[in-house]
Amino acid sequence: MKKIFLFLAMLGFSATSFAQLSDEEYAYVTMDLQGILNLTMTTDPTVNFSFKSIPDYQQGITKFNATKLDVDATVAWDLFAYASTDRWVQVDAYSTNGTPLLPAEILEIQAIRPNASGATNNFNSFVSLKGLGNSQVGNGIPTVATQFLAGQVGTAVNQSYAPGAAAANPATNQFRLHYKIKPGIPATFPNSVVPLGAPGYAQAGYYYLEVVYALVEDL
């Protein structure tokens, strides 16, 4: 009996002595992924239209690829545009007749690629740029009336553009925009969706309009 006990004790000890030795070192890693939205205009932000001849008035002037925009985003995004005012701001008047109150909508814009999200208000063809009131952008928040270059109101699938960089995704993250103004004779701006007030044609002068391109996270 004593021998059996000793044998078992030896066995037990032998098993213990073969336990695998080990040690550990830990490193704790955190990763902060910050949401990034970069909108870069790669062209001159000032686009000048100078109507100096009868053909300029009759045919209008089109500035092809007047504005190029690059979007770099790490979150789903929408891009929309509107005028910061309802009317052009008159800097100088060259005449005393005609109205100085030119609606923002006399400027037409077309994007070279259609909005893939199916927004009803878009720039898929030359269309009047909506003024601040008509675009219904309040405090920078768009509505269904707002014109979208990419995405649209809502967060459902296909209502936004996916994260991506402009260099890697030129088809979706690079935008080229044509501008067009056609005054006509007299300068009634027949393509504008908002008609001029009395007497129905524009006063000769120097005007400017600020166009806002807004890149927002699709929330």
Partner: protein, 190 residues
């Protein structure tokens, strides 16, 4: 006296066994258990990744025993980062741990993973830097997979490892704060 002989023999054997165990240890010396943070705040960082060089030094002390060294991650859901906070609602918050890469090297270039970055994986399927899950043949200092008994004190070129870490998340994941633990395991090669 006859009865005492087996007992005496047992104690002698026990003492011998204990001295044997005490000579065979494997351990990391001078642990630092670092905390590192990858801060992605520009598009360029997202695209090209962030490298934290030499964020950890492993010093192996293994007198009398061959050893294995492997690395893997520990998270709540195996193979995916833990989510601390989400900053938005768009994008996928299930980030695989393999967007994190490590480069483990010593001056004698004995690591099996070489001098390139390799993708990390869950600790249940770790990357072996030295050795394997089986019993490996003894390899002396200077050859790839060197696992012979030794110490960083006498042969730092084979027993001291620097670790670089690289994260390249790309642009498809949800903005937020994520975390995981990287485990470096030193184990006796049996």
């Amino acid at each position: 006296m006859k009865n005492l002989l087996p007992l005496f023999t047992f104690f002698l054997l026990s003492a011998a066994s204990f001295s044997h165990i005490n000579a065979q240890t494997v351990s990391f010396a001078l642990k630092t258990t670092p905390n590192v943070n990858f801060d992605f705040n520009t598009i360029e960082k997202y695209q090209k990744g962030i490298i934290i060089p030499s964020f950890l030094t492993l010093r192996v002390e293994s007198p009398g025993a061959e050893w294995d060294l492997y690395v893997g991650t520990t998270t709540t859901t195996n193979g995916f980062f833990d989510v601390n906070n989400a900053y938005g609602s768009s994008g996928n918050s299930s980030i695989p741990v393999n967007i994190l890469q490590a480069r483990v090297y010593n001056t004698a270039n004995t690591t099996q993973t070489g001098t390139s970055f390799f993708n990390l994986s869950d600790i249940s399927s770790p990357n072996y830097i030295i050795g394997s899950s089986g019993n490996d043949p003894a390899a002396p200092c200077g050859v790839t997979g060197a696992n012979a008994a030794g110490s960083y004190n006498t042969q730092p070129q084979c027993y001291t490892f620097k670790v670089d870490l690289k994260a390249t998340p790309g642009l498809n994941y949800r903005a937020g704060s994520y975390s995981l633990r990287v485990d470096f395991i030193l184990m006796q090669d049996l």
